[in-house]
Symmetry: C2
Subunit: 152 residues, 2 copies
């Protein structure tokens, strides 16, 4: 966990965060994740993946999303109350491949205190997942509830 | 797999699909998925989850998304070429709980043949994940590339 946990009033638009760790994507976990949750040929087998849109073995987008969440919760975005997504826009502009090393960059896009609840608000963050070539493999622009200290 | 695989010209706006199977969410898998990908108290422990926004143990949204994908790939949406999401809007209006039984309903919202590539197009589908009480736990409105047979 990070040393400092931010609440709504500690955050500012344009504030940026980055993952404190990275994750190396293994072929074994790509295949086992896919076998459980997304058993399609392009996530399971090199040869079967070649003639598909992916042109080779690629991780399920949900695997990329799950690995991203691990990077975020490892102190990447130190929000008090935890990292809870309500809704968001998700895109996978490029596949995640075996051997890729993923990291996360995030930016606060919007901050909206609740009108009815003084102890919380909603922020919008753009959470970008990049590989070792700084190529974007996932973008998630997400609304997250954030606690707010009571006014003194 | 489903018996019939649809290509772009087989699909129509308003066409609906449903999962052919359901999945029962176990507490064990909620916790093990979270331990690997989303290790936050509300996904790991009943007691620790009580004072949080979730009010009790809940599955990671990415676990719900992954289980949804499994329902979709088990013949739920029989698209030729596979189920590939390019981007979409994702929302989790309600938590997934231990013991929930999830199923999927999907509807074609839009169909756009490619202007540059006669052998493909893009569709927009709304994929809804519901629990045993018919409550919506996830909505994903996603753009998916779909193959198209060459014109005769």
């Amino acid at each position: 966990m990070a040393d400092t946990l931010y609440d709504l009033d500690d955050l500012s638009i344009g504030q940026r965060f980055a993952s404190r760790t990275s994750v190396t994507v293994t072929e074994e976990r790509i295949k086992s994740f896919a076998a459980e949750f997304d058993p399609q040929p392009f996530h399971l087998d090199h040869e079967a993946a070649k003639p598909t849109l992916f042109g080779g073995l690629a991780a399920s987008g949900w695997h990329t999303a799950a690995m991203t969440m691990k990077l975020v919760t490892d102190g990447g975005i130190p929000i008090a109350g935890g990292i809870i997504g309500a809704s968001g826009e998700l895109a996978w502009p490029r596949p995640t491949r075996p051997g890729d090393v993923l990291r996360v960059e995030a930016e606060v896009l919007d901050i909206t205190p609740s009108k009815s609840r003084p102890d919380r608000g909603m922020i919008t963050m753009r959470i970008e997942t990049k590989n070792q070539k700084d190529e974007l493999v996932q973008s998630f622009t997400v609304k997250m509830p954030v606690p707010r200290k009571a006014a003194p």
